[in-house]
């Protein structure tokens, strides 16, 4: 199968990942477009022994992070952990129903490094090993980020727990 043809089959999944990662349809599609362009330019770097989707996700999340960094940069360099999430001082909602908007909101409040891990595992059912490769961290880190992301979701959706937004990390 030609490279482009296979690339095309991954586009819906790239769009889903980008949408969930950014929470913004237009920004997400810009990212996907950049990702496609980059993948086509750099196609000789792709190792066909590896799943193409994982390679594309790596490109997309790196583009996203470098986009965030260049927005945030004020002369100094910004580390991944310093990229803020949207959670600043937003109290958790006291609802026990999982309304779609709530899910999206909760995901958006997660710190980026937890959000991406959660999405890759939950939406794409990728193995922890693949997620570790995509995000460039050890599997143990993937697992702890995932665990924190999930406990955050629990706090968001469990109406009966005391309302507190534990600052993770």
């Amino acid at each position: 199968m030609a490279f482009k043809t296979e690339l095309a089959t991954h586009i819906p999944f790239l769009r889903r990942f980008a949408r969930a990662l950014t929470g913004d349809a237009a920004l997400a599609d810009d990212l996907v477009q950049d990702c496609i362009e980059r993948a086509l330019r750099k196609h000789e770097l792709y190792d066909p022994e590896r799943p193409m989707r994982a390679w594309l996700y790596t490109i997309l999340r790196n583009l996203h992070i470098s986009g965030l960094r260049s927005e945030l940069r004020r002369g100094s360099s910004v580390t991944l952990d310093e990229i803020p999430n949207g959670s600043d001082a937003v109290p958790p909602r006291q609802e026990d129903r999982l309304v779609l908007a709530d899910v999206e909101e909760a995901v958006a409040r997660l710190p980026l490094v937890q959000r991406e891990v959660l999405l890759l595992v939950a939406l794409d059912e990728l193995s922890y090993r693949d997620v570790a490769e995509i995000t460039g961290v050890p599997i143990g880190t993937v697992m702890s980020r995932l665990s924190r992301a999930r406990s955050f979701l629990r706090q968001q959706f469990d109406g009966d727990k005391e309302p507190r937004l534990r600052r993770i990390k």
Binding site: A8, P12, D29, I36, V103, L119, E125, R150, E162
Partner: protein
């Protein structure tokens, strides 16, 4: 509040994510049996996982924006290096065609329900038809549950026709969306593992049509509007192969 359980959260997560195999999985299962708290936590974890899919999966069925199609269409790429061809053939997804290149006929026929549903079924077929582990949300052995759920969502009785005479068995189905409206998606498979997609949405045009067939990038689609519903089929097959299947579907639906 702290949970007092024998199973750590991360281990429960790894179990739910299919990361544990053999003894590790058995161990968790054994612990789970004696730990109702952990059972609840596992159920909750699965619920959250499913909620994420429900929230973001509709993106999969959306039409690909033109800017992205153009980005793909404009670039020139050399072919795969020789050595990798064999690998690609093994992993080759029969349905992996298209998605993008059908832009032309979609534009030509824009704004008609028929062409929208044809492009929707083609996308769905390309996306889910190649899915190995999770092609459907509800498996075909729960046909009644599947159809009653989808009927409820569409607000119209929807059935999954029996296509055994055509050699196709129901793999299952899922709920998709088309233009902000719910759509029913059924997948069938024959003995040669060839898949067939059936897409059903509300017919908002209030008119009936004959079968209309189009082929794009190796995927044949056949669609028609019939009373309250619009139907579309997609599969990697020829017109001659598709036609009797379309008739069988039409007749099965007509009897309801």
């Amino acid at each position: 509040m702290t949970r007092q359980r024998k199973i750590e959260d991360w281990a429960l997560g790894a179990y739910a994510d299919g990361e544990l195999s053999g003894e590790a999985a058995l161990e968790i299962e054994a612990l789970l049996r004696g730990d109702p708290d952990a059972q609840l936590a596992l159920a909750e974890l699965k619920r959250h996982k499913a909620a994420l899919k429900t929230a973001f999966d509709p993106v999969l069925a959306e039409e690909i924006p033109p800017a992205i199609k153009d980005a793909l269409a404009e670039a020139r790429v050399s072919h795969w290096p020789q050595a990798s061809r064999r690998f690609l053939l093994i992993g080759s997804l029969a349905a992996a065609v298209a998605l993008l290149v059908h832009a032309v006929d979609v534009r030509e026929l824009a704004n008609s329900d028929g062409s929208t549903i044809a492009s929707a079924v083609r996308s769905a077929h390309a996306v889910y038809g190649s899915e190995i582990r999770h092609p459907v949300e509800i498996a075909g052995d729960q046909r009644d549950h599947l159809t009653s759920w989808l009927s409820k969502r569409l607000g119209q009785p929807v059935i999954a026709p029996d296509l055994a005479a055509q050699g196709y068995q129901l793999v299952g189905g899922r709920l998709l969306s088309l233009r902000d409206k719910p759509a029913a998606y059924f997948m069938y498979e024959n003995a040669r593992k060839q898949r067939l997609s059936l897409y059903v949405v509300i017919n908002s045009e209030h008119r009936d049509t004959a079968f209309r067939m189009e082929e794009a990038d190796g995927i044949m689609t056949c669609y028609w509007l019939d009373g309250p519903l619009a139907y579309a089929l997609a599969g990697e097959m020829t017109r001659t192969e598709m036609e009797p299947i379309a008739h069988a579907v039409y007749e099965a639906l007509d009897k309801t």
